[in-house]
């Protein structure tokens, strides 16, 4: 049960639970931020069932892509 899609938080909205407008490419949807209250506008969240489960770690993501690039260099 794992269909989760990363999206960028565009705007926080008032409410209980806290909501936010999240952009997936050019599609914008309202998402529940109850589990990531510390998320900042501009950060990416992983959204599943209309709820943000976690905030994406940009540094880790960048490191993964670098690892993959290095792998290419390592091979003969």
């Amino acid at each position: 049960m794992c269909l989760g899609v990363p999206g960028e938080l565009l705007e926080r909205l008032e409410g209980d639970p806290p909501l936010g407008r999240v952009a997936f490419g050019r599609i914008v949807k309202e998402v529940c931020l109850a589990f990531v209250p510390e998320v900042r506008v501009g950060e990416y969240v992983l959204v599943h069932a209309g709820t943000a489960l976690e905030v994406m770690d940009e540094a880790e993501a960048a490191e993964l892509l670098q690892t993959l690039a290095r792998l290419d260099g390592d091979l003969p």
């Binding site: 049960m1 794992c2 990531v36 209250p37 992983l46 069932a49 880790e60 993964l64 892509l65 091979l75």
Partner: protein
């Protein structure tokens, strides 16, 4: 889309595939636990890139597939009641119960609504105080926080017309069951990335330790799966058995504390029957007594309602990795996506459906007439 497209880059896949081929010296069986992984592997044809020595087994990571017939039958009974608005994720609509499925009940006039989130069902309950709104709460730990939140908010807002039909399942007991099985043939696991985003890695350490199996948590895009497979293979070749996190960009070792706290408030660990497998102790999440008012099974007196599973369906064997879907005698014959015997053929995530739909182009023995009609 950012954080998606980069991990589908065909050029970057080549060195990973090459590295896997170089690393493998012996046959290994790797079970991927999550339906989302199954789907992605099939959609991108990843198995065809792997050395023959590496075989992937599709595990029981399809909450849709493992929802027991009895609970499906309860859902069908509820959905047919005129006062009920029955809300469900789309995945559940075509899963067969004892006699029919939710799609058929909808066609017969049942008020069944597909929702994207349990919070949408909650909103429906607030808009329709004259109706009873029931949400079909299936899923692994990934979905449990949202389901818990819906129940929590319903309680806080004093709603009297909202309830959950709870069928949540937990992953670690299923892995333990597979590993305990005398004919277990799993050397390692690719663990479910989004389940672990919620729960963290702690529950997997004892499993890796006790059964000496590598467990690598992966994301779902092709590069993630390939890297996860590479990490598993390297561990296996080196004789290591550790929990590693390929999905470090999202999964923290401790998981999401807030989500876990809310889950503990609303749910308790209960035994759960897994369709085709049997009852596994401590493998499910049910509503706590404090939330009894929001338990559809109690509210509608459904205990004891339902279900008989098809004896022709070998879903259990498939889900445990003991039988490849294509080797099931019913596969593509009496059991097709149009006429499924069991849930793994219905759900897009199910091992049988994935095999049927995304068959490797060169190895399809079935004539088009059999598979298309």
């Amino acid at each position: 889309m950012k954080y998606v497209d980069e991990y589908r880059d065909g050029e970057k896949a080549k060195p990973l595939v090459e590295a896997i081929h170089q690393a493998v010296t012996r046959p290994w069986s790797i079970m991927e636990v999550c339906g989302g992984q199954t789907h992605s592997l099939a959609r991108f044809g990843i198995e065809s890139l792997l050395p023959p020595a590496v075989s992937l087994i599709h595990g029981p990571g399809c909450p849709v597939c493992v929802t027991p017939v009895a609970i499906l039958d309860q859902a069908l009974a509820l959905a047919a009641r005129p006062e009920v608005i029955f809300c469900s994720f789309g995945d559940m609509l075509r899963v067969p119960g004892s006699c029919q499925d939710l799609f058929q009940v909808k066609a017969q006039g049942g008020d069944i609504r597909i929702v994207h989130s349990p919070l949408d069902a909650l909103a429906l309950a607030e808009r329709h105080p004259e109706r009873q709104v029931v949400f079909f709460a299936v899923g692994f730990e990934t979905t449990a926080p949202a389901n818990a939140l819906a129940a929590h908010l319903a309680k806080r807002r004093g709603l009297r017309n909202f309830s959950l039909l709870a069928a949540q399942v937990r992953v670690p007991p299923a892995l333990a069951f597979i590993l305990e099985s005398p004919d277990a043939r799993v050397d390692a696991f690719l663990a479910a990335g989004h389940v672990c985003a919620v729960m963290g890695l702690a529950e997997y350490q004892p499993l890796a330790q006790k059964y000496q199996v590598p467990i690598v948590v992966t994301a779902f895009e092709p590069l993630d799966l390939l890297q996860g497979i590479l990490m598993v293979v390297r561990q296996l070749e080196a004789g290591r058995a550790e929990v590693e996190n390929q999905y470090a960009r999202l999964v923290r070792p401790e998981g999401n504390a807030r989500a876990q706290a809310l889950m503990r408030e609303v749910f308790q660990i209960v035994p759960r029957t897994w369709r085709g497998i049997g009852t596994l102790p401590e493998s499910g999440l049910g509503l706590r007594p404090a939330y009894a008012d929001f338990d559809a099974e109690i509210r509608f007196g459904l205990k004891g309602v339902g279900g008989v599973e098809s004896s022709r369906c070998l879903a259990g064997q498939v889900l445990l990795g003991r039988l490849k879907p294509t080797k099931c005698p019913a596969f593509g014959m009496e059991c097709t996506p149009e006429h499924p015997l069991g849930a793994p053929m219905v759900s897009a995530e199910g091992a049988c459906s994935a095999h049927h739909r995304y068959q490797p182009a060169s190895s399809n023995p079935l004539l088009p007439a059999a598979s298309a009609r």
